[in-house]
Amino acid sequence: MSSNPLLVRTHPPVSRRGGNPWLLPKTLIPAAFVLLLIVTVIAPQWFTPLKPDDMDMDAVLSAPTLRHLFGTDSLGRDVFSRVIYGSALSLSIGLGATLIACVGGMALGLLSALAPRALRRVLVRLLDILLAFPELLLALLVIAVLGRGPTNTLIAVGLAGIASYARLLRSQVLQVKLSGYVEHSVALGESPLRIIFRHILPNTLRPLLILATLGIGQSVLTASSLSFLGLGVVPPTAEWGALLADGRDYLDVAPWISLLPATVVALSVIALTLLGRRLQTILAKGA
């Protein structure tokens, strides 16, 4: 089975320096970047006076200048403002997809750990089969069924991610099930549903939260890959992957159209991942 390579595998760190782990630079810098991203979603107009769809025919394919920080594309649209305005769509696709994957994974994970034996076996097999496929391929399959577009991209990326969350939750539930407090509440005769929602589920949330933080970055990545391949969000919508796909034909004359938005995507995903890993370390320390 594959393990998530983004998770910290080493033993829980010994705190070398005292002090608040939230205030270390390695937490603050990615957190600040993520905060910046959130602000671009809420108020893109603070960052650029230009509109993402305004065409400036005097400056077609112009290189980065002070007025056009990231240059302009083949229609004279300002690439920087398209990136800024595109972050709303890209990030909400990432967030929405992670939500779908999380909720679906929770349901499937709980069922595959606690359902009657026959159903459990079928579900475990199903998870095994799903895990045999790369997420991008699964997402592409869903796109093949549903067609392109922002909503379908969100659904595709979300569905493709369910299996890995389900596996994590299943192993967590199996662990928690053996714990003293669950045994205790079974002995007390609490109803199964109550045990699941009061005792088992809350105790599985911490690792799920960590995986989800890492997952948002990965979802943004997968979604932008889909759009880059021309099968996710289609131009002229301002979305990160679509921007890259737009600039691919101009790599020789105007590399900035693809390169600079791609760098923003890379930085965002790295920031989200770093933040997720910090969260993991800090939460693990608290335990």
């Binding site: 895990l131 045999a132 790369p134 391929l137 093949a144 021309g230 020789d252 390169l259 890379a266 790295i270």
Partner: protein, 309 residues
């Protein structure tokens, strides 16, 4: 031993069967008229022709019969005709597979070499270099493959003209795609190998080897690495995912022919037999890689050999 073999075979069949069923369900879920989708979006106006096509595709039969029919054909490797290429799916896939295999194997070998060097050099020593490399690995892991590709392409092809911009001709056209695909792989492998190596070096046997007077390099190469490779066992799924989705993206960036290209075309034009073929190929690759890795373990670790016999 025999029982393990049978179990293994059963698992393989289950994965393949599951993949086929998944695609069948997906095919049935596609909204719209199945006849026009199955005929590749051709304008089926005529009622008689429509009936003929419906019959030809077996769409007039009950669903379970269609399913069995489909499974039977898939079992003997017949996935039907690709609508776009007007050729058997198997033939289309085989002609594309060669290009992708060259790319993937090249990238794997390079990634392995980079990762082994990196892990050997930085495991448990040279703190600053180690920190630098772990940081770099983390960045590479979360970097979009296409970003790497675009950077390499605009730098070395458009600026320096060292390598061709796109296409499949010659070894020069392979250099940049292989590097693009191998870097994220190398990052994952390095992490795993370094962890394994550090674990191995902290064990009593490492001390024994040192007291016998073996040098650090010999200890790492001869004794540590073998243990470290075992740690990579958990990684087959991730590796496959990386190689397969990575080559789809890499081929797109560099305009190469291969599995990635036909996958995209098949999905964009809803060429379902071809999509099915590619899904089965992916499942098959997963199975094969797992088998190879398991066999490699027996070679690497004598303890496993004893236990199974």
């Amino acid at each position: 031993m025999l029982w393990t073999g049978i179990q293994r075979l059963f698992t393989i069949l289950a994965v393949l069967w599951g993949a086929a069923t998944l695609t069948f369900v997906a095919l049935k879920l596609i909204p719209g008229d199945p006849v026009s989708i199955l005929s590749g979006g051709a304008n089926v106006v005529d009622d008689a022709f429509r009936a003929q096509l419906t019959h030809e595709f077996g769409l007039d039969q009950p669903l379970w019969l269609q399913y069995l029919h489909y499974l039977g054909h898939a079992l003997i490797g017949n996935f039907g005709q690709s609508y776009q290429y007007r050729e058997p799916v198997i033939a289309v896939i085989f002609s594309a597979l060669k290009q992708t295999l060259v790319l993937a194997v090249g990238a794997l070998v390079l990634a392995l070499a980079l990762a082994v060097l990196n892990a050997l050099a930085t495991a448990g020593r040279w703190r600053y270099l180690r920190t630098f490399f772990t940081g770099l690995e983390l960045c590479l892991l979360s970097t979009p493959v296409y970003w790497l590709g675009i950077i390499l392409l605009s730098l070395f092809s458009f600026k320096m003209h060292w390598f061709p911009v796109m296409g499949n001709e010659g070894w020069q056209s392979l250099v940049l795609p292989i590097i693009t695909l191998s870097l994220p792989l190398a990052a994952i492998l390095s992490q795993i190998l370094r962890d394994g190596l550090e674990e191995a070096l902290s064990q009593p046997f490492a001390l024994t080897v040192r007291t016998r007077g073996a040098g650090e390099t010999r200890l790492r190469l001869r004794h540590g690495l073998r243990h470290a490779t075992l740690a990579a066992s958990t990684l087959t799924g991730t590796m496959l995912a990386n190689v397969l989705s990575g080559s789809i993206l890499t081929e797109t960036v560099f305009g190469r022919a291969g599995i990635g290209k036909i996958t995209l075309q098949a999905i964009a034009s809803r060429d379902m037999p071809l999509v099915l073929g590619i899904v089965m190929l992916s499942a098959l690759l997963f199975v094969i890689i797992n088998l190879v890795v398991d066999a490699a373990y027996l070679l690497i670790d004598p303890r496993l050999r004893k236990r199974s016999s």
